[in-house]
Amino acid sequence: MFYRRAGIRHTTYRQERQLWPLPFDRFLVGLVAVLLIAAPFVVDRLYLVAYLLPWLIWSSAALGLNLLMGGAGQIHLGYGAVMAIGAYTSVHLIRFGTPFELAMLAGGLASAAIGSIFGFAALRVKSLYLAMATIAMQYIVDFVITHVPGISGGGMASVEVPPVRFLGILIEGDLRTYFMALAVCAVVTLFMLNVGRTAFGRALAAVREKDYAAEIIGIDTFKYKLLAFWSSSFIGGVIGCVLVVCYLRSVSPEQFHLDLSVQLLAMVIVGGLGSVLGSFFGAGLILFAPIVFNNLIGAGADRLGISIGADLRAHLPLMLYGALIVAFLVVEPLGLAKIYDNVRNYFLVWPFRHARR
């Protein structure tokens, strides 16, 4: 009915390999793209700067982490530190007069370089042990930032981001920062959508499934594990730069603590490992469920005249938030992306219950 699919009839390799073979999916993607581009002109300013903008940035970061975790199967608990390296590198370069475009790339490269050094741990250890190694990275980076005044910015440990220009356009105000973040997010999303179709992506998938089996079929796991860390950290560094330039406007150490790493990890897992769409869903849920619950309970209590103590009023949203995450994972362990997929599968053949493959 909606998808109007009756059997798959590809006549060329090109058709078979396209990202969205079904016209309805293409329509949905186009619709979302149009909505995102039109958003600043139709959505209330509050929702633009306090919801859409952080959502785009956190989603991009979750995509970068998802490349490593979902794509190559390497756990990383220090992704916040990776973003910190990119953010600090680029902000200091901007302060010394480097153009924003170059500073952003340099931030990515610095993150990639340092990130792959810690990626060496992945060559020796796996799963929980790798998790510990990456947590170590988080703490080492935190320590270095707070203890080198030249990096942290001295006594106040806060460095303001100077005004920046991207391709000659001053990035300031709500509109331009939003489009900057949107552009970067689009590039990262396109990369992530396509990476699975490249030799690189397939090699990562092989490493993810079983690294020694991958070695047996001729994939250099040494190289690809490091490359996975390299590219994921590069994305992290660039997003760290976008985060501070477009959203936070100043950079200080607490912004990149373990909290951020765990938040991103939760986004990837709740959204769905290895899923591009899932990263967006996960970022949306993890970022906004507490806010929505908080506003809901606050407004509800005021409206209905129920007196809830300030303590309970503060903790109730967190309880609901926790319950919601557990509920989602109980209903669908493969994440929000899988829930979407189930719904899509249902409508794929609706109003019938089954379709012949």
Binding site: R45, V49, A50, S152, E160, V292, A299, H315
Partner: protein
């Protein structure tokens, strides 16, 4: 075996149906919840009363600052109730919207933007990371950002930070006053040793330049012992402190770090009456350490503690006595409760002065800013030292006193005083200049 049975018995399909139903209704319910959430917050934005002045207080009730937020917020809200109960200021009621930002930047920025849209003229986040992240927004939007005992110390320089209002002695002033108290006690600090035991974060390292500058001026030697955050294990540091044989110890942390520091100091036999804390020490901490064990320890007081100040007595009579208190009555008069009363009183005084200057409004951020920066010799009926805020000095004079724990309460050891402000202001100017240079 169970496999065979499952295959044989029909209900399997109905179970699947049930699953799907619940799943579907689950998704629907979640979507509905999310939608109502948005609708609610939008509606509450429209319902605005003309005769209120709105303060936004998104604070951290659930993450890091929990040890102070509940009491601080209770004090502030009780004071607002007191003012409103007496008819408000110039007929205007104070409407404080309290919510939780959990020290999380996206949540805090969302709260800030939402409150801004609802017409708040002052926002008090009570969190250093949040205050830092909001500085550039507040300066741009001309909304007063309350940063008492948090945020940037250099915001005392009002010429660089016109809308950032610490309205309280900053950490540099606190360090300056504590060292001056040591000097008063020993008459002369030449040849003495002052050590700082601090949490190893930017907050903990903040007072170091003041201690160093004063060491040169007063001739004491200074040593610094950082412990790793969050500070629940300091057993390695305190034996080193003991071996350093300090004449005075300043311990600089917050929450769990403070009680751990005190316990370890007691264990290592460091005399309590030679130890001082910044503002972050309260009666509840003493319960943890042991009320008698910690007898003699010193702290910096920005305002009077206890229930004797007239404002607090009034709150007990007119607010809590009528059952309108914002929290448990037992907490009234604790150190952090009184900080909340203090800040609320200063904010309301700002409103009063603003009405004096521009009786007809309009009520905006700049309007309140004119009031806040013209507060003169305000004492909140004896709760705090005479405070004068100007366009240049957002700290309000940098006065305070040192109090000593006597086993049941903090007893003031000095009058309200101010000291070493030259050193403090050198540091403020230096840091503010760096901020100004970075924004270009």
């Amino acid at each position: 075996m169970s496999r065979g049975r499952r295959g044989a018995i029909k209900p399997v399909t109905t179970r699947e149906d049930d699953m799907r139903l619940t799943r579907r209704s689950f998704v629907a319910t979640t979507a509905a919840t999310a939608l109502t959430g948005l609708r609610f917050s939008m509606r509450s934005a429209v319902a605005a009363d003309d005769k209120v002045i709105k303060f936004g207080m998104p604070q951290d009730f659930t993450k890091i600052y929990t040890f102070v937020t509940a009491e601080y917020s209770q004090g502030a809200r009780d004071y607002f109730s007191l003012v409103n109960g007496r008819g408000g200021v110039n007929g205007y009621k104070i409407d404080a919207e309290v919510s939780d930002h959990a020290n999380d930047l996206p949540r805090a920025i969302e709260a800030y933007e939402r409150l801004k849209r609802e017409g708040m003229v002052l926002i008090d986040p009570l969190s250093t990371p949040v205050a830092r992240a909001l500085v550039s927004r507040a300066l741009e939007d001309k909304i007063n950002l309350g940063t008492a005992f948090s945020g940037r110390s250099d915001a005392a320089d009002g010429s660089v930070f016109p809308y950032v209002m610490p309205l309280s002695p900053n950490y540099w002033t606190q360090a300056g006053l504590i060292v001056d108290f040591f000097r008063q006690q020993d008459k002369d600090l030449t040849g003495k040793k002052v050590v700082l035991v601090n949490i190893d974060t930017p907050f903990g390292k903040e007072p170091i330049p003041i201690f160093q500058a004063l060491a040169q001026k007063l001739g004491y030697s200074f040593e610094n012992f950082p412990y790793t955050p969050p500070g629940n294990d300091q057993s390695a540091i305190w034996p080193q402190v003991r071996r350093a044989k300090p004449d005075w110890v300043v311990f600089w942390g917050a929450g769990v770090g403070q009680t751990t520091a005190l316990s370890e100091a007691i264990r290592n036999g460091i005399p309590m009456d030679r130890m001082s804390s910044s503002v972050w020490l309260s009666e509840s901490d003493m319960d943890v350490v042991g009320k008698d064990a910690a007898k003699g320890v010193l702290k910096f007081e920005p305002c009077a503690s206890g229930r004797s100040p007239k404002v607090v007595a009034d709150i007990i009579k007119e607010v809590a006595g009528k059952g309108q208190g914002a929290g448990p009555e037992g907490k009234i008069g604790t150190a952090y409760y009184n900080y909340g009363v203090m800040m609320a009183a200063i904010m309301v005084e700002g409103v009063r002065v603003a009405f004096q200057k521009n009786p007809n409004g309009p009520i905006t951020g700049p309007w309140l800013n004119d009031g806040l920066t013209a507060i003169t010799d305000f004492t909140a009926e004896g709760l705090l030292p005479a405070m004068t805020v100007t366009k240049e000095d957002h700290q309000g004079g940098g006065k305070g006193r040192i109090a000593r724990w006597d086993g049941t309460k903090f007893v003031p050891q000095t009058d309200w005083f101010s000291a070493n402000q030259d050193v403090v202001w050198t540091e403020i100017k230096k840091s503010a200049e760096a901020f100004k240079a970075a924004g270009k």
